[in-house]
Assembly symmetry: C2
Homo-oligomer: 308 residues x 2
């Protein structure tokens, strides 16, 4: 049995995956804040999974963890997991001490990319584009995550697509994330409300000019990311996930309309049929936790190869 | 002995590479126009190489060909090689009939990427960015060309980085190629001269306002491509080649200045040290022909695996 955890800023999603690759148990629990609490959450998630699925601890061969921060390639070192209150943590070592099984750790978007690739039944190349507070992608080719040289693979959120666009929290102007990131949109909307991006869409439907501009910017940002991913990595499909995708068709219809506009202007873009290649991850999909389980399984194989 | 040919719009560069990977002979000849003449050029290049290097024909195990057109992945089918007057040609079959050895065919930019990777002594991930009439890149990871799903990997030239930028021949506005492609710059400069892009740089040095704008656009376009390649595929280095790189430091200094400006605004970009990661392919480098030789060698291995 493989366990996969998606440790999010507020909730942790945990799955147990059997040898056939099927999810046989799933639990969600609140994520603690700070390094110690994150490690405690990981251990608690495994306990709850075992209890809920009647899984003996001895059946767990590996645990994989997806986490919203930088993960040093080939290590379990997490850095700058700001939303979790973690500046630096050797999560592989800390979780391994608690759980006594091989641990794999990966950035949550990259883990979700691997899970989405598997759920999608994809072959060839696919990108998972996470549109949440920030915007980032994971690219999977022939079942392998593109990790790149220095950990910036898939950081399309900080590509500028308009030198006169809004200032991004990274300092540049017109970044994809400055247009489409939930954090940036919320900041520019600057009105109270529990679901500010949904409020923007509602206000745009009612004709509010600022909301119309922001909504158009979200579509432009996501469509730009789709174009970048296809024209650089030549992925077959771009699967959208993350908080903003709770808007469902209201989100993707706008993205497709923006892709259609650029295709109208350009026979070359038209030939790429981008509108057909972008899709939504189904709501409630366990992609990120499933991907983490795959990362954990790979970590076990690696450990076996290294230590015999 | 492996032969590699870079079939360009006006000239063909041919190299013979020994088992150690060293270039032992090199010739250049004029490229013929149209399918029959292209095939004849290929055969003539092999003849001239053999004569110039005293290489017996029987020593040639494979011939690889880089060509400025679309090459259907895994085949030798060339399409839309506009500058060669070739609309559609099974170059693998036609050249194989003439030469009687396994033939590999690849898009010239992708072949050059593979050659640059080898010459560069790179490991990890590298991009080769060709800045000639058009702008396109080849991405090599761990020695393997990123081919993608539908042949658009590395087509960064048609990513728009300014919705109000110049109209591109592809129909979009503000494409990287519309800013930095030699064809687009020549068209907008619209003054007579044998080396229009050099004229633009000279006129910019003399303070001509249109030339200053065009020169800044070239730097912006190339710097944008570097940012896209690093932030999507996370390549360690971006090596520039193609016609415009004959401008040497005059070109790359402008690119580095543009990268420095964006790094000043953004700590995140600053941390990527992009200015240090962009470099020029040395003038006269046989990268494209060498890469073609590697493509040919791979084709021989493939044929052996398929046919025993």
């Amino acid at each position: 049995m493989r366990v996969g955890l998606d440790v999010g800023g507020t909730k942790t999603d945990a799955v147990a995956v059997d040898a056939a690759g099927d999810v046989v148990a799933r639990v969600r629990l609140a994520t603690g804040y700070g390094p110690d609490e994150v490690v405690r959450t990981v251990a608690a998630a495994v306990d709850e999974l075992c209890a809920s699925g009647s899984i003996p601890r001895s059946a767990i061969r590996s645990v994989g963890i997806g986490i919203p921060g930088q993960v040093e390639p080939g290590s379990g070192l997490v850095a700058h997991a700001v939303n979790l209150g973690v500046d630096r943590l050797d999560l592989r070592a800390a979780a391994g001490d608690r759980l006594g099984v091989p641990i794999g750790v990966e950035n949550d978007v990259k883990a979700a990319a691997l899970g989405a690739y598997t759920l999608h039944g994809a072959d060839g190349a696919m990108a998972y584009l996470n549109v949440g507070t920030g915007v980032a992608a994971g690219i999977v080719t022939d079942g392998l995550l593109l990790r790149g040289a220095r950990g910036t693979a898939g950081e399309v959120g900080h590509i500028s697509v308009d030198p006169h666009g809004p200032v991004c929290r990274c300092g540049q102007r017109g970044c994809i994330e400055a247009f489409a990131g939930g954090g940036a949109v919320t900041e520019r909307w600057a009105r109270p409300g529990a679901l500010p991006v949904r409020d923007v869409f509602d206000a745009a439907d009612a004709g509010d000019p600022q909301a119309l501009r922001l909504r158009a910017g979200i579509a432009l940002g996501i469509a730009s990311a789709v174009r970048v991913l296809v024209l650089t990595a030549d992925v077959d499909a771009v699967v959208l996930g993350g908080g903003l995708t709770a808007l469902g068709d209201r989100l993707i219809d706008g993205v497709r309309a923006e892709l259609a506009t650029s295709a109208e202007a350009s026979p070359f873009l038209r030939s790429l049929r981008l509108g057909e290649r972008v899709q939504l991850l189904p709501s409630g999909s366990p992609a990120a936790a499933l991907g983490a389980a795959l990362i954990g399984a790979a970590a076990e194989t690696e450990e076996a190869l290294t230590h015999g």
